[in-house]
């Protein structure tokens, strides 16, 4: 097969664990590549080639390129950008795809600025137009509107993809794996002092199920009910803005226009009235369940299933039922 187009996917990993969103990005790149005779190369910057190349191939990579260097153990944008720019000097890529994580978004900005190429952040849908070019849909104003963009000018065109949107199962296929030593400048002071504290806690943007609470939870102590449900379902706990402003929960849990935008398969809005800012941050979820004592709450207008009642009463019963069916 002749290759018309090369798509690079930058893999994100922490402590030797590949971020699930990286596999999604590979799957999305694969789908594009199949439409435009493209080749997908997983770009894996790391200390040593110890990540599962096979997993990358199963999610769509034709080739896995490990760029290794002791200073690439952790993501540091200076080092990542340097190694990628070196690579782009000698190999040409038509598209570069990254996860729309905090790391992916800043890396796309540096590469775009250094290379003078365009970038579309946080894409939620990708397609190929009649001319064979990639088009992307991205939410603006936290999803209150959607914007379709195309690229012009220099390549590679850069896209970052929102987590939880492009999930696709692995399939059996062949690919090659190559390791190259990366060349980096001297250690910067930042590298020496970097401390990364990433725990086992599931991030709300990456969770398949999010259980969020609002002021209807009545107090921080009742969030235990949400944690119980989230634990049973393997989900993460979110919160509305007033909850975070009241310091009941950490700001990293806030869902909404001034918080995080989430697109889980299942979203529980518990005691959340449904302010427009909150709806902007969660209405792209797969299925929405709202529990609120006020039958006129705006949240019910976006919910697939509504329960009118006191969340404090409803939640334990729900958790029990889920436990039963999951045989926990």
């Amino acid at each position: 097969m002749s290759v018309d187009c090369v798509l690079g996917v930058v893999i994100e990993h922490y402590h030797g664990e590949t971020k699930p969103v990286s596999l999604e990005v590979l799957s999305a790149a694969r789908k594009l590549a199949d439409q435009i005779s493209g080749k997908v190369i997983a770009l894996c910057l790391c200390q040593s080639a110890n990540l599962e190349a096979n997993l990358f191939i199963q999610h769509g990579a034709d080739k896995v390129l490990f760029l290794t260097h002791p200073d690439l153990q952790h993501y540091i944008h200076e080092n990542y950008a340097f190694a990628l720019l070196r690579l782009l000097e000698k190999s040409s890529f038509d598209y570069l795809l990254l996860p729309a994580t905090n790391n992916g978004k800043e890396l796309s900005a540096v590469l775009s600025a250094q290379l003078g190429v365009g970038v579309a952040t946080d894409c939620i849908a990708l397609s190929v137009n009649k001319e064979g070019y990639v088009e992307a849909v991205r939410p603006v104003s936290s999803g209150k509107a959607h914007s379709m963009v195309r690229f012009s000018g220099k390549k590679p065109h850069i896209l970052s993809l929102r987590p939880n949107i492009f999930r696709s199962p692995p399939f059996s296929r062949q690919g090659e794996t190559i390791e190259e030593k990366a060349h980096l400048p001297e250690l910067s002071q930042r590298v020496q002092d970097l401390v990364i504290q990433v725990g086992s806690q599931l991030d709300i943007t990456e969770a398949r199920i999010v259980v969020s609470g609002g002021l209807g939870m009545q107090g921080p102590e009742n969030f235990k009910l949400l944690e119980d449900l989230a634990e049973v379902l393997g989900g993460a706990v979110g919160a509305s803005r007033p909850v975070v402003d009241n310091r009941w929960r950490d700001y990293s849990n806030q869902v909404g226009q001034t918080g995080r935008t989430v697109s889980p398969d299942l979203y529980f809005a518990c005691g959340i009235s449904g302010a427009v800012q909150h709806l902007a941050g969660m209405s792209s979820s797969g299925c929405i369940v709202a529990i609120n004592s006020d039958p006129n709450a705006a949240i019910f207008s976006v919910a697939d299933y509504g329960i009118v009642g006191d969340v404090i009463q409803v939640l334990p019963s729900l958790t029990r039922e889920f436990k039963k069916i999951l045989a926990l």
């Binding site: 994580t101 959607h146 914007s147 930042r190 302010a275 369940v289 976006v302 697939d304 729900l318 039922e321």
Partner: protein, 279 residues
């Protein structure tokens, strides 16, 4: 070395003086409570107010907090936008910034984040600084590109999505906490530095009456495209083109589950498992 090769003005105007000089980038956006419509390919919201981009408020507040600890600090706001942006500039001055630079020209309409960072970078040629603070993203375009692109053009280190800043005693370096998915990172960096600010960093104050009165006397310099000589600037030439803008389809109204508490719970679990196959 490739990195820095596109920098316009590396090492030209760092301050290194006695007092700290901070630039805060401020954008005005539509009120987050606004309902929007699409008219002629643009977002409109008749009658809705405009506000300072919420993440930029954290940047302004942080600068004012630094000035409270280090009174010889000078805070310059930098804002690019039409005449209406003056409202947000005034509010930010009332919160405690010292002066403002307003970049205003029809030629600045519709700049993408690359071009915007280019123009901001050019204007910073005229302003000495030790620290540049931005919001982590503007809540209208939601790109999160301008801050890091600006730092790249200026050739200075940056940290994005910052939730903590702890200066050394002499204010020559800072310990920075950055949010990442599922955790945080901490690093120590020397100034000059650009940081993009995230919720959790501080709690922005409301302008006091005294602040509002004082703001009226503060200097607002206006620069046009020709003042900045932008014809000589590589603006990237529209590398990302918007083809269509629409409102996402409204979710259809669902059903309210009826029955006793346990009946409702049982039915919901059944629906999620059998109909949606999520559980």
């Amino acid at each position: 070395m490739q990195i820095g090769s596109r920098c316009d003005n590396i090492h030209v105007n760092y301050n290194f003086g006695v007092g700290m000089k901070i630039i805060v980038c401020v954008k005005q956006v539509l009120d987050t409570a606004a309902q929007i419509q699409i008219d002629n390919g643009s977002i409109v919201s008749p009658g809705s107010s405009r506000i300072i981009n919420p993440y930029d408020e954290f940047a302004i507040e942080e600068a004012v907090c630094i000035k409270e600890k280090k009174p010889d600090t000078e805070i310059t706001l930098l804002s690019l936008g039409p005449e209406g942006f003056k409202d947000s500039i005034k509010k930010a001055l009332a919160m405690g910034a010292d002066k403002a630079v307003h970049l205003m020209d029809d030629k600045f309409d519709g700049l993408d984040s690359y071009a915007l960072a280019r123009v901001l970078g050019r204007s910073i040629d005229k302003i000495p600084y030790d620290l540049i603070l931005c919001g982590r993203q503007a809540v209208d375009v939601d790109s999160a590109q301008t801050g890091p692109a600006l730092a790249t053009f200026l050739g200075i280190p940056f940290v994005t999505v910052v939730t903590g800043i702890d200066f050394s005693d002499n204010f020559k370096s800072a310990k920075i906490t950055r949010q990442v998915e599922g955790g945080s990172e901490v690093c120590v960096l020397p100034l000059p530095l650009l940081l993009t600010c995230q919720k959790g960093l501080n709690e922005p104050r409301l302008p006091s009456l005294k602040g509002i009165m004082a703001a009226k006397k503060k200097e607002v310099l206006t620069f046009s495209a020709s003042d900045l000589d932008i014809d000589t600037l590589d603006m990237g030439d529209n590398r990302v083109i918007e083809e269509n803008l629409w409102l996402p389809p409204e979710r259809k109204e669902g059903i309210i589950l009826q029955g006793t508490g346990d009946e409702i719970s049982g039915e919901l679990v059944r629906l999620l498992r059998e109909e949606h196959k999520i559980i």
